[in-house]
Amino acid sequence: MADSRVRTATTPPLLEPSAWHEIELEVNGEIVGAQVESRLLLVDFLRHRLGLTGTHVGCEQGSCGACTIIIDGQASRSCLAFAVQADGASIRTVEGLAPSGAPLNRLQEAFHTEHGLQCGFCTPGFLMSLTALEESGEVGKESIEEHLDGNLCRCTGYVNIKKAAHKALLGTSEEAAR
């Protein structure tokens, strides 16, 4: 019986089957196969489909850096990529730095000892940006600054984050405090 109070949900105009994709990628060393909808952002794939919730969603416009992960060796915004674009890619998230049970790595340890985090929301992004920098072999005061610039923190004012980065990547944290 027709009821005027019942509203019918419109079906989004999905172009089946091209709106779904089979993807295979490497995440933190594991091969992952999945079916993803075209519109699914990479960050949402990591968080909701793989349960890797260390990667955070902040601004969704590339400004804050909370979603930064490493895609094929380069620090990138996972909120500005679709999951389907990661087909065949090698991805690392914050969970890959110290897999469960393993001790914190040098960078994480430095953030801990130098009080480089307060609420921790931005921390995974900072860690992944700095990890990519470290592996690029281009570590220097200027490149550290440049990579830190790409991540926003609303709590600590960056002094301790910079100290932690200097301690882990350059072996000294004193100068960073100045």
Partner: protein, 269 residues
């Protein structure tokens, strides 16, 4: 595909398009990712000395190429001002030019370096000068079904100088105003000058009066004063949350002066 999808949009690096979609300001029916097409990933120098940057070439790849950096230093400098390393790792050179943000670096560099856009569709290929490529904010001459497949930067001669400067509130932000200059000098005078200003109008633009003030003379105080006043009288930038129109105009005039001075120093004039 064209028959089935009428509103397909080209997805290159996605660093401008995906934020627009995330903010629900754009909702294309379909995206076509061009970054996986091997032919469009070419970053090459041809025997005539020009640089070809394919549509799938990331900004970070251009930045990392030492030979490109040595021969097109303005390109390297400008890319280093785009967003952050985490953005440049995915953003493309052609994508930024086709997006045509009036405050973006690369459309201005294309203008200053007299680059050519190679555009292709099923109807064939056409080549468009940077000058004619951008019409208005976020609007180019690209027609429906046309794709910018590469940008070609002509060789820079040994007698040319360059400079690129921008003012932004924070590093990585879009420029409040910026200037890119390529200047050719010889026999103690400027032979040719291309000055592109960005962030101060609907698109990156050249001011012929400022350029004419420089050509045929050595760059001295008098010339620089003429450049300053030509930019001041030739611009009427709109105010926004970052700066008033007057501030932007003054900034642009000063950047024009300092970049022309620097480019002159770097040239062999």
């Amino acid at each position: 595909m064209t028959a089935k999808i009428s509103a397909a949009v080209v997805l290159a690096g996605g660093q401008s398009l995906i934020p627009v979609m995330n903010l629900r300001m754009g909702h294309p029916a379909a995206l076509v990712d061009v970054c996986r097409i091997p032919e469009l990933q070419q970053l090459s120098m041809t025997p005539d000395g020009s640089l070809h940057v394919g549509a799938g070439v990331r900004q970070a790849d251009v930045l990392a190429d030492r030979e490109v950096g040595a021969r097109w230093p303005m390109l390297r400098r400008a890319i280093s001002e785009i967003g952050h390393p985490q953005i440049r790792s995915r953003g493309t050179v052609c994508g930024s030019i086709a997006h045509a943000d009036p405050a973006a670096e690369l459309p201005a560099v294309a203008l200053a370096l007299d680059a050519t856009m190679v555009v292709r569709s099923r109807r064939g290929e056409r080549r468009i000068a940077a000058e004619e490529f951008v019409l208005a904010p976020f609007t180019t001459v690209l027609e429906e079904n046309e794709i910018l497949i590469e940008v070609v930067f002509p060789p820079a001669g040994a007698d040319s100088g360059w400079a690129f400067e921008e003012f932004a509130t924070r590093r990585g932000d879009f420029a409040t105003a910026g200037a890119a200059v390529r200047l050719v000098a010889g026999a103690g005078a400027v032979i040719d000058c291309r000055l592109a200003l960005f962030g101060v109008g609907g698109r990156a633009l050249r001011l012929s009066e400022a350029e004419e003030a420089v050509v045929g003379r050595p760059v001295d105080e008098e010339v620089l004063a003429a450049v300053h006043s030509a930019v001041e009288s030739g611009l009427d930038p709109s105010p926004d949350v970052h700066a008033s129109g007057e501030f932007r105009r003054e900034l642009a005039a000063r950047l024009a002066v300092s970049t022309i001075e620097r480019a002159w120093e770097r040239s062999n004039g």
